[in-house]
């Protein structure tokens, strides 16, 4: 009986969670006149007009590719640098380790709005403005510390005897790390990659500041469409739905990985 109550609560919560997204999807399949004309729980004459409008506009399609490129670069950089660092934090005591850790975290705390201008100047100085790498690097500011934090948790769950045995067997550190250790925390790497992807995908302020045309992200393209079309709710909703799709695809493909990572349970 108790179990059933829990399941019911969970189902209710998940339903409520989907409701706003469903509503946007509903709006995106109707014309603006239809939306303003009468209230409907589902689209009676579903139309793909809004989507067609968007896809005939080249700005959209490139916005997607730009976002995906810089998000991927960011995830790769974050993982590549965070893996050894997390190993150091989980295995060693060294001078200033705790301070270093806390300093990394403080980088999430800076109000981005004011840092936008110095950021723009800095990346202009190194001639990276309007490149994917600039956005990827800027997003490292908040993703790398998080990646270190999460990976450190997974690594601490692996007993140190494994390291010791491998070193006695004559493995050097790089070979041990790549061939033995990383496969052990594979699921943890998956979970970390998911979080990096997520925070980089949803961030807008840095991405918009550091790009003009060539690397403009999808979410920024959307704000432009909004201002250009005024209050076309259908188009706006369709644009919104399209920004969710890549994230939804990623989560769908990594779902088993994610479940396995959480089963390891050392976030």
């Amino acid at each position: 009986m108790k179990i059933r109550k829990r399941t019911f609560g969970l189902a209710l919560y998940c339903g409520l969670l989907m409701l706003p997204i469903y509503w946007m999807l509903n709006m995106s399949l109707r014309t603006n006149a239809d939306i303003l004309g009468h209230f409907a729980f589902y689209p009676k004459d579903a139309t793909l007009m809004n989507y067609i409008n968007i896809f005939t506009d080249k700005a959209w399609y490139s916005g997607y590719i730009n976002s995906i490129i810089y998000v991927s670069i960011n995830t790769l950089i974050s993982l590549a640098t965070a893996l050894p660092a997390a190993y150091a934090f989980s295995r060693y005591r060294f001078l200033g380790d705790k301070h270093m850790f806390f300093w990394l975290l403080t980088n999430r705390m800076a109000p981005a709005a004011v840092f936008a201008l110095p950021f723009f100047q800095l990346y202009s100085t190194v001639a990276l403005i309007d490149t994917h790498i600039a956005v990827a690097l800027a997003h490292c500011l908040f993703n790398v510390p998080l990646a270190v934090w999460i990976l450190e948790g997974f690594m601490s769950g692996i007993p140190r005897e494994i390291d010791e045995t491998a070193f006695i067997d004559g493995y050097g550190f790089p070979r041990f790390f790549v061939t033995i250790f990383i496969p052990l925390i594979r699921a943890g790497v998956g979970v970390t990659a998911f979080f990096c992807f997520m925070f980089s995908w949803v961030e807008l302020l840095f991405a918009r500041t550091l790009t003009t045309t060539n690397a403009k992200p999808i979410a920024a393209t959307m704000t432009r469409t909004v201002s250009a079309t005024g209050l076309d709710w259908g188009l706006l909703a369709a644009a919104g739905v399209l920004t969710i799709v890549p994230g939804a695809l990623v989560i769908w493909f990594v779902r088993n990985h994610l479940a396995k990572g959480f089963a390891l349970g050392r976030v």
């Binding site: 001078l95 200033g96 301070h99 100085t125």
Partner: protein, 92 residues
């Protein structure tokens, strides 16, 4: 590579140089004579590095409170902050 955009001023340069010098001094001190965690009047066990952080953060708040609440010269706040820093470093 030009860094004009950073708009350096003499006081802020002095400020950052002193921070760097303090950090460097702390590092050298800890490399040569590592010290252990211990418990002072603060409610947590601290290393000298923790106490330096608490001292500096406290100093920043002392300065802000001074600017916000009084109209007097900032040198008094600076003196208080140094005092606080020393107290935390020794007895914290």
């Amino acid at each position: 590579m030009s860094l004009d955009w950073m708009a350096w001023t003499f006081p802020t340069a002095v400020f950052f140089i002193s921070i760097v010098v303090i950090l460097a001094a702390m590092t050298i001190w800890q490399v040569l004579w590592p010290s252990m965690e211990r418990r002072g009047f603060l409610p947590i066990t601290t290393t000298p590095g923790d106490r330096l952080f608490i001292g500096l953060l406290g100093s920043a708040y002392i300065h802000l409170a001074w600017i916000g609440l009084t109209g007097l010269t900032l040198w008094i706040a600076f003196g208080l902050a140094i005092l606080w820093l020393v107290v935390v470093m020794i007895w914290g």
